[in-house]
Symmetry: C2
Subunit: 446 residues, 2 copies
């Protein structure tokens, strides 16, 4: 009998648990869902009498030992910073691991042991990273099989709000980890490949270097570069590629306004503002600006951050309410934490809102002396929470991948993996179609 352990019963676990509950019932497998939050556990598992719900603290090693020992594969939905600890337990108790998190150097460093124990640690099997890898590899393998040589590959994805629920001038609401949005571009240096040359984008330039992208039926977006794209040249087996960039999608105008907050210092996470709750948001803005009685605070903000007239961006910032006399809610915090607390209220996805994910791959390649462009596009619109597009597109690949493992379809794979093998991307992409996750592909000669 196969036994699955799911760590994390947060909002994003809904589709995953639902899918695996059915699979377990069909196959007489067992599943345990573990989380520190009892309410979340109840909400996610009470519908399924066969699922065991277990309150669990990763720090408590005796509990962890019992849990890990009694299962065959661990699906971790834990925050990125805890994945190293989860992987360490998986090594210790010799269990397979499936996650949607980025593969870190820590986990990469476990490769030798994971392989020698005959385990799979499958990383980046969610949406982005995840479905982007699956669909990119499917197209790359197809173009290569036909004798094509890919010189350019752009891949963009974004978790956004559906147009019908788009009620703010940023055209954005949080559908995923808000902290990652506020800190985007900090910590991990942004690198990509262009015309066979390495390119670097420092944080202060990231939201200035934008690309316009149109997705059929969904209108216009803008894209900015995401993390280190260069490592995917090897991962995607694209030895021939000269330009390779992975990026994040937002609606046009988002980045230009966000960059004002970046330039001002409001996304800074390196120092703490003490007694923040005695300040208004306007006070906080003032602490970054030079006083000048001849200008309004709005004019000073634009001048200070090097903008001339930029009424559109200013309107977005006005909408946040930070020129007003509202008191800051946190007692103390970094500017980024204070901004995060505000944005979590302003950019909240309400229960009746629908989210949307958009993804676009664009390949330029040569075949038989001719130049081609291939585009693959995906849009998924969510239903009411917890049936969001993001929960679906993060949870289902993990769930289907785990099923494939337990059915023995991945027995040729071992070690620290990304989902680039045909044995994993093909069945997952096929099954995702049943859930409306369908790529639209277009190829044309240039």
């Amino acid at each position: 009998m196969k036994r699955i352990l799911v760590l994390g019963a947060g909002l994003s676990s809904g589709y995953l648990i639902e899918y695996l509950a059915n699979v377990c019932e069909e196959n007489s497998w067992l599943m345990t869902v573990a989380d520190g939050n009892f309410e979340a556990l109840k909400a996610r598992t009470s519908k399924y009498p066969t699922i065991k719900a277990k309150r669990f603290d990763l720090e408590h090693e005796a509990d962890a030992e019992v849990l890990f020992r009694n299962h065959d594969v661990v699906i971790s939905l834990m925050p990125a910073f805890l994945q190293g600890q989860v992987a360490t337990y998986c090594l210790k108790y010799r269990k397979h691991l499936f996650t949607a998190s980025y593969c870190t150097p820590d986990i990469k460093g476990m490769e030798g042991r994971v392989k020698s124990y005959g385990l799979i640690f499958m990383n980046e099997l969610g949406l982005d990273p995840g479905i982007d890898h699956l669909s990119a590899m499917q197209m790359i393998d197809k173009i290569h099989a036909e004798g094509g040589k890919i010189h350019t590959f752009y891949s963009y994805a974004g978790a956004l709000v559906s147009p019908e629920s788009d009620t703010n001038p940023w055209h954005y609401k949080f559908t995923w980890n808000p902290k990652n949005v506020v800190l985007a571009g900090q910590g991990t240096p942004v690198k990509y490949l262009e015309n066979d040359k390495f390119r670097y984008i420092p944080y202060q330039q990231l939201f200035k270097q934008l690309t316009n992208i149109s997705v059929e039926g969904q209108g216009d977006f803008e894209g900015y570069a995401n993390r280190d794209s260069m490592i995917y040249k090897e991962i995607y087996k694209l030895e021939e590629v000269k330009t390779l960039l992975r990026g994040t999608l937002r609606r046009p105008g988002f980045a230009k306004a966000w960059d004002i907050l970046v330039e001002l210092g409001l996304t800074n996470n390196e120092f703490v503002v003490e007694n923040a709750n005695k300040m208004t948001y306007r006070d906080l803005l003032e602490s970054f600006l030079k006083p000048d009685d001849s200008m309004t605070i709005q004019e000073r903000l634009l001048k200070h951050t090097g903008r001339a007239e930029d009424k559109e961006s200013l309107a977005k910032i006005e909408w946040l309410g930070i020129f007003g006399d509202e008191k800051i809610k946190l007692q103390k915090g970094t500017p980024a934490e204070i901004l995060l607390e505000l944005l979590e209220r302003k950019w909240r996805l309400n229960p009746e809102d629908k989210d949307m994910i958009a993804m676009q791959h664009r390949f330029l390649y040569e075949k038989n002396g001719k130049q081609y462009e291939a585009i693959a596009e995906l849009t998924v619109v969510g239903e009411r929470s917890p049936h969001t597009a993001i929960a679906k597109t993060v949870g289902l690949p993990l769930a289907i991948g785990t099923k494939l493992l337990l059915q023995g379809h991945l027995s040729h794979l071992s070690g620290v993996q990304l989902p680039t093998d045909r044995a994993i991307y093909e069945p997952i992409l096929n099954e995702l179609k049943d859930y409306g996750v369908i790529f639209n592909e277009k190829i044309r000669e240039l």
Copy 2:
């Protein structure tokens, strides 16, 4: 018999060792100079037969134990990142500690034990921090004693090159730790007080927020804010102050050109450029720029960093040679490390060059219903290396302070200290006059 241990025999130790060698001879005290570099040790100590030179590795605890046990006070000229280790040894073996480094939270945290053992850990007793504290406190105590209320205090200092040795368009050469210059503003958040409000300057704004400063007889400078000025409100006993800013001096135009390198990303110390030695400096620049065949690389650099016509800054950057085809010397390194290696050659203080330090305090205060301005200015021009102005102004305060301790003049002080007590600032400032370190003071009614 008193015994002094000097850790570090680098370039900056010349004046300190010379001064203390004479003091030791007069008083029949003993001194040991310890360093990992035997050449440096020889160069610094061979003139003084009574000084013991000891090759020493801080990591080797058995050696450290013998050294620390056999002395009464430790003067540490070690790099800032090793001061915590030195302080830990001083606690363990119950020795006084004198340094020119900034007091860190680590060392601050030792306050209880330092005090209970009856020790002094004297920090920030060099030039900046150091002489700035001594002279600021002297003026503050004087103004307070006369019943003045100080509402504004600006304090700027810079280690520069003397005009007669100024041979480059940046009007700057390295006279102190070059790494600190390249990384200035990174790591430690910049904060100050203005009109009774906290102000923050994020890194990307630091070199844009400049103040013009003229020092009598030395011409014009520009100043940018340095670290956290707000903590000095309490340290300087300036409860009444509304504006308090400590800053760094450069010759006009330096910061505007430096800011182009900052905006571009060349001061980034967070990611490594691999195979750097296969690239030219121009290649490195290109890796941050967008390609555009219709513009020169110089034009693209200015456009990319948001400058219109800025020929003066461009001339400074041209002078560094980074538009040319010279190969990078490092095999790999962060952009900041690659820039540092280049600048260490370009901004080298040659043996025949003279350095210069400049400092200016400016107080605005009220006394008997009238408004006053008090300015105290210091300039020191160095002689041939190792008799630089920086070695003199960093080494002598430490040396004199240590003498005061051993003569029993600081017996009323204990714990983790900054040099703000009259018993330390007055004798040091008086004795510094013999060495030409003399403040020029001007007071006028406004």
